[in-house]
């Protein structure tokens, strides 16, 4: 990959990291209500996978979706507005941080039901195929979600119907507070693909270049009509499960064993000859962008409760 492109991806990764620093602060100050699930440590997966998608492709996300949003090119300002429940947010403040959608950028969308996005993605893939959009759908979900029935039902269906979908499991080693070895006995999630006769690929989820390579193959396969792939990206959730987490179950030493994907990528950039100052410039630029978006969000207006009546009238009243 050329440096310029990798710098763009690195920028996006830093955006996510800065978001994950900024959002809990806003939450602590009461400017964001509702729990925030941060992606610190998982930046390479979402940013990497989304970078191989084209206009018209779609993704389904989760409660922990910031990397997917940034990866798909969401406008930071209106993302922040939504997270703060403002009228000009992507969902008019009606969805909030777990339920972000951005149709223009193919984000359809966040989902707070663990595993809930998997059937939605499978259906989007069906529509891509039937309506001949040429698009593919990527479904992101966690290691914990891979134990839900929806995972199984959908992988079977997608395999049967050869749907243009890529299932990306971000294995961050925890389902909420439950360590992976306490929620599954066989830790190789990619092996679950064997039962459906589809490829199951494990990848180092902290190395964006590795992620991209695997994602490209899976997306190509989907786009060319050969069917789904299960990609399992090994990564680590460096913070608590959400802003409500009071900790006590993640051994502090564990985080040291896992590489920080931002460091991995910045080292790749340095090794490829990019100057340290240039990287630092990007870090600052990202920080500023996030700061500006936070400001935008804070200054945005709250929705007028009249929207409630409008919605009710639209859906409920016998005409």
């Amino acid at each position: 990959m050329d440096n310029e492109k990798l710098l763009v991806l690195y920028y996006r990764m830093v955006i996510v990291r800065k978001l994950e620093e900024a959002l809990p602060k806003q939450h602590a100050q009461g400017k964001i209500k509702g729990p925030i699930h941060t992606c610190d440590g998982q930046e390479a997966v979402g940013i990497g996978v989304c970078s191989v998608l084209k206009k018209g492709d779609t993704v389904t996300s989760t409660h922990r979706g910031h990397t997917h949003y940034i990866g798909m090119g969401i406008d930071l300002n209106i993302l922040l507005a939504e997270i703060m429940g403002k009228a000009n947010g992507l969902g008019k403040g009606q969805g909030g941080h777990m339920l972000i959608a951005d149709r223009e950028h193919g984000i359809l969308g966040g989902n707070g039901i663990v595993g809930g996005g998997i059937p939605i993605a499978t259906g989007q893939a069906l529509a891509h195929k039937n309506l001949k959009t040429g698009g593919v759908c990527v479904s992101f979900f966690g290691d914990g979600a891979s134990n839900e029935g929806a995972f199984h039902e959908c992988l079977n269906i997608a395999s049967l119907w050869k749907l243009p979908v890529v299932y990306v499991c971000e294995n961050n080693q925890y389902g909420l507070t439950t360590a992976i070895r306490r929620h599954m006995a066989h830790l190789n999630i990619a092996d679950r693909a064997l039962g459906y006769g589809i490829p199951g690929v494990e990848v180092d989820g902290n190395d964006i270049l590795a992620v991209i390579e695997v994602a490209e193959q899976a997306v190509d396969r989907a786009r060319s009509g050969e069917g789904p792939t299960l990609v399992v990206a090994q990564t680590y959730r460096r913070k608590g499960f959400s802003t409500t987490d009071i900790g006590g179950y993640q051994p502090p030493e564990e985080v040291k064993d896992w590489p920080d994907p931002l460091l991995v990528t910045s080292n790749q950039l340095l090794a490829a000859g990019v100057k340290a100052e240039e990287i630092e410039k990007i870090n600052i630029k990202a920080e500023q962008a996030v700061e500006a978006a936070v400001k935008f969000g804070l200054e945005s207006p709250y929705p007028d409760p009249i929207v409630i009546t409008e919605w009710v009238n639209n859906f409920e009243v016998a005409k």
């Binding site: 779609t58 959608a101 016998a318």
Partner: protein, 324 residues
């Protein structure tokens, strides 16, 4: 007017809409090769091909969710959930998915998804294949719910369901597929939220749903011999509910009774009765009573099953009691 069966009316509705709009697909368990276990989609696979008529694996949660996902991108799925009893497996994707996402995504997606299912007892199919769970579905904002009782209503409501491009659940009744009734050959639809007064009468308004409409009409015949003249109102869609027609009827009869097959406690009859009592209090000469399925898992035995579901006799008996 020609008479056709409820099943045929549904088939016609689907067939006409499939011809009208290529984006409509039909999917569900055994809807393709076999044509649906009640044969509503018989022959569709041959006519429309496997891309538009899809047998799915047995995976209710997935097929509900994937129908919603496809609808988000402009496909127009008509999903069949074979028995309403299995809706239990698909509710998450309905209430947390299809019904909620258009709102929480701020209107960025539409949900032109129609779900057909069937409920009801009467076949000795036992506790897991006989339930009427419409109260669950009709509790969900953003879902429209229809329960057609006649071939005419079945066709007209199903066509509206599809044409309106709004999330809709159409609940058929397994005992009605073979019933016959007049259905025009010409195009027509029935709007949601319009009740139908199936019989005019003066003494009491009986609001009945699905197969209970037929039982109420039989009860009316029995009662008319005793000089009791009942009005039978079929809401046809529970959500939205045509309060106006119901209240107008009660304003005129001054008495009301709600009849459904579903379990009494927390059944949708409670909503109708509460609504009448709340909004039509001054019309009422007596309490709104309910006659409904007994609060018990539906027993299999042919000696038991009939006792847990209202019928013309029990409806007539309760009316006699109320009017005494």
């Amino acid at each position: 007017m020609r008479e056709i069966r409820y099943r045929e009316a549904l088939t016609e509705a689907l067939h006409e809409e499939m011809l009208r709009d290529e984006k409509i697909i039909i999917l569900g368990e055994d809807v393709g090769v076999y044509g649906g276990i009640f044969k509503v989609t018989n022959g569709f696979l041959d006519e429309f091909g496997p891309a538009r008529v899809m047998d799915t694996p047995i995976a209710e949660n997935a097929i509900m969710g994937l129908s919603a996902g496809a609808a988000m991108l402009g496909q127009r799925p008509v999903l069949e959930i074979m028995y309403m009893d299995f809706f239990t497996l698909a509710l998450d994707q309905l209430v947390n998915g299809a019904a909620a996402l258009p709102f929480v995504y701020g209107g960025q997606v539409e949900m032109p998804l129609v779900i057909r299912t069937q409920g009801g007892a009467g076949s000795c199919a036992g506790a897991q294949h006989s339930k009427s769970l419409e109260a669950w579905i009709a509790h969900i904002p953003g879902v429209r719910v229809a329960m057609p009782s006649t071939p005419f209503d079945a066709k007209g409501l199903l066509k509206s369901a599809i044409q309106d491009k709004k999330l809709t659940v159409v609940i058929e009744h397994k005992q009605l597929y073979n019933t016959r009734g007049p259905v025009p050959e010409e195009e027509y639809t029935i709007p949601f939220g319009k009740a139908d007064v199936k019989r005019r009468g003066t003494d009491i308004t009986v609001i009945a749903t699905s197969r209970m409409v037929l039982e109420a009409l039989s009860a009316a015949e029995m009662l008319s011999k005793d000089g009791i003249d009942i009005e039978v109102v079929d809401p046809r869609s529970l959500r939205p509910l045509d309060k106006k027609t119901i209240l107008e009827s009660v304003a005129h009869t001054h008495r009301a009774m709600v009849v459904h097959e579903a379990w009494r406690t927390g059944g949708f009859g409670a909503e109708i009765a509460a609504m009448i009592s709340e909004e039509g209090f001054d019309y009422l000469d007596g309490p709104v009573t309910r006659l409904a399925g007994t609060d018990i898992p539906i027993p299999y035995s042919p000696a038991l099953e009939p006792h847990v579901i209202p019928n013309a006799e029990t409806i007539a008996a309760q009316i006699r009691k109320v009017l005494k």
